[in-house]
């Protein structure tokens, strides 16, 4: 009896494994699915054009694209629809930092079986490692990169040439650079986006100070090196080298930079085309050439660059059929292929997510077109981009980090006092889970 039971159990297990292995990738004629995105203006136009091309190539699939709003609106709408179990799109664009909690709560499909089933349509190994790593949660590929951006420095190339300096690639050279440019212009050298830690966090991690130490469940910012960096940044603020911008940040950075009120600024790479256009046209009084640079290396040559921006997910909700999810994945394959990515990057300044876009001769023409329009894109080494710590409280801790940094840099709080309070509050937050 026991043997019979064991045999039956083994048979059931084998059948289950077979069923798991066989991923049903069929997409019947007339499959229609909803796609939520957050793009507007020229980006939306390019996206719609690419979707139309996809539908022309796949006449059996109908994509119902819908602009929902910014990332926060998509988050609340998606979470609400998921809770209700109705109206969940088969494909959505979300902000990268949300992904960890989505993956933890099972809101998103694991795309690994899709990647295997549609291997002839998507070359997964061709994506930049740092980008796909950021979207891998506990071994599951929960999203694929699309609309990726980084936190980069924009600088006035014309001015720096006049001064006879280059934008520093190492933190240790920053002091001399700031002093030299400031003495030449008498104005702020760098405007820093002060209300989103994503922009200045990299400076800390390149010094070995991380927001969350997952082993101790405490913040790595309690490292003395973090305090030293905070004090150094404050010193630069006090000397007038750096301006910590904390309100109406997007407008202030753009106006300061394009009007020559500062020589450089730290902001998202996705505004490169816009800044370049304004600076070259002299829209705000001066004409100059725009240069871009990655974040500077740390003490021991650490070079972490982080991706941010958007990512594409397939929600796991049952209200969409497997065929709809398959069709959605087919669209992901299409939109993330190197040819579409190059077109997308040329319009939007978002990063190209595929390595072959710059190396494969078949894309040479499109790649050259990108570099003709946005020449500095070649400066960025996308291979140096890595994944941030994936922790569901990362954003909450990041809020605390940026709040105290604003207090110290813009409101005169004592750096040591602010650092101590910040560390305490982040540790309390991590403990309170």
């Amino acid at each position: 009896m026991k043997k019979l039971f064991a045999l039956v159990l083994t048979a059931i297990m084998l059948l289950s494994c077979t069923a798991l292995a066989e991923f049903d990738k069929t997409i019947p004629e007339g499959t229609s699915f909803v796609f939520w995105h957050s793009f507007t203006g020229a980006n939306e136009e390019t996206l719609l054009k690419q979707i139309a091309a996809f539908e022309a190539a796949n006449p059996g699939i109908d994509v119902q694209e819908q602009y929902i709003g910014g990332y926060n609106v998509i988050h609340t709408e998606l979470a609400s629809a998921n809770t209700a179990g109705v109206g969940v799109p088969a494909l959505a664009v979300i902000n990268v930092p949300r992904l960890t909690s989505y993956a933890k709560d099972g809101l998103v499909e694991d795309l690994t079986p899709y990647i295997e089933a549609f291997a002839d349509e998507i070359n997964f190994a061709d994506f930049y490692d740092g980008m796909v790593d950021m979207m891998n949660n506990e071994g599951h590929q929960t999203a694929l990169p699309f609309g990726q951006s980084g936190q980069i420095f924009y600088y006035n190339k014309t001015l720096l040439q006049d001064v006879g300096v280059e934008f520093p690639t190492k933190m240790e050279d920053m002091d001399a650079f700031l002093e030299k440019v400031y003495n030449h212009t008498g104005k702020t050298v760098i405007d820093i986006h002060g209300t989103d830690n994503a922009y200045f966090y990299c400076l800390f991690t390149n010094m070995g100070c991380f927001m969350i130490d997952t082993e101790t469940n405490k913040t790595g910012l309690e490292n003395e090196k973090a305090l030293e960096l905070i004090k150094k940044l404050r010193e630069w603020v006090d000397k007038g080298y750096i301006k910590w911008v904390i309100n109406d940040v997007g407008n202030t950075l753009m106006l300061d930079f394009t009007s020559g009120e500062c020589a450089a600024c730290l902001y998202t790479s996705s505004t490169y085309a816009n800044y370049k256009k304004k600076a070259e046209a002299g829209e705000n009084g001066i004409t100059f050439e725009v240069g871009i640079a990655n974040q500077p290396y740390g003490d021991n040559g650490t070079n972490h660059q982080y991706v941010a921006g958007a990512t594409m997910i397939i929600p796991s909700a049952d209200c969409n059929t497997q065929a709809q999810k398959n069709a959605a994945f087919k669209l992901i394959c299409f939109l993330t292929n190197p040819a579409q990515q190059l077109e997308w990057a040329t319009t939007s300044s978002y990063y190209v997510t595929r390595k072959s876009a710059s190396t494969d001769p078949q894309y040479a023409e499109a790649y050259n077109a990108l570099l003709t329009k946005l020449p500095e894109m070649a400066v960025l080494d996308l291979n140096s981009y890595v994944a941030k710590t994936k922790h569901e409280l990362f954003d909450r801790c990041g809020d605390i980090f940026e709040n105290y940094m604003s207090e110290i840099m813009a409101n005169g709080m004592d750096p040591e006092e602010g650092w101590e309070l910040m560390v305490e509050e982040i540790n309390d937050t991590l403990a309170d889970q």
């Binding site: 926060n72 988050h75 609340t76 979470a79 998921n82 809770t83 179990g85 909690s101 989505y102 709560d105 099972g106 809101l107 209300t195 904390i246 309100n247 109406d248 407008n251 202030t252 106006l255 300061d256 009120e261 954003d395 909450r396 709040n403 105290y404 604003s406 207090e407 813009a410 409101n411 509050e425 309390d428 937050t429 403990a431 309170d432």
Partner: protein, 315 residues
Amino acid sequence: MFLKKKTRTMVINGREVHLRPEKFYWSDFFMALPAVLILILITYYPVAELIRISFTDWRLTSREYDYVGWKNWIWLFTAKTSLRYLTNSLRVTFIYTIGNILIDLGIGLLLAHLFNHLTKPYSFMRALIFMPRYIAMSSCGIIFLWMLNTDYGVINKMLEWVGVKNHINWLGDDNLALVSILMLTGWHGVGYCMMIYLSALLGISRDYYEASSLDGATGLQQFRYITLPLLSPTTLFLFITTFISSMKVYQSVDVMTGGGPRQKTEVMVYYIYRLAFDDNRLDRASVVALLFFVVLLVITASTLRITNKNVHYEA
């Protein structure tokens, strides 16, 4: 008790009018039923759900949850983070509420008093003051955001013309951020209070003022001893409505400061929103929302009880 039959009469303008006997009419019940059902559905059912969710571990992004007993309530009153943010939010909310009541009711009353004495052509100015009420708060917030920009805002430019050289960091300064929000909401709401006060002022009989003038009362004495007491029902109404709406402020904070700098403008509703939609903790947001509901209820009921004794309804 409902079925008690009793014929009632009332004297109106010297005539005796017979009222319907006090008894239970099924027709009345059925006519009220749709409204009652809608009220239950959109008001009482969500409150009941909120209480239920407060005993779960429900995250916004998850469809599954377990019942966890009093865990969230214990978190609310014992965790370092909840105590830190809760006390801060309550403090900010009360400061904002007091400021907003003072601005809306104080300036509203002064403007109403002024317009009550001005001639008709000034009605255009009255309309101008009331007009912001028609504009969506989110639009007003964005306009103020530009106006209060430290480097390029028109307010700092104007201050520069009068000699204030250092640009004021309106929205980034710990002490000024809430003031900036009060400037916006005050500008938006003062016209409404002015109009309500103005209609109440027009309802006060001139006889009181004529009689007091004959007795030698000054304008200030008339305002203190006639106008203010006779406006007390209006003041109570405006106080309660402004108090409740101020305690529930959200949109202006969201647009202008996002709760910052360092939670200095994080009012209660914004804190609840942050817990629910940023941290995805619907369970914790529910307990904070329930606590806030109780606080509002207790304060409103106490205010009504205390102030009703000092309100004069005969104008």
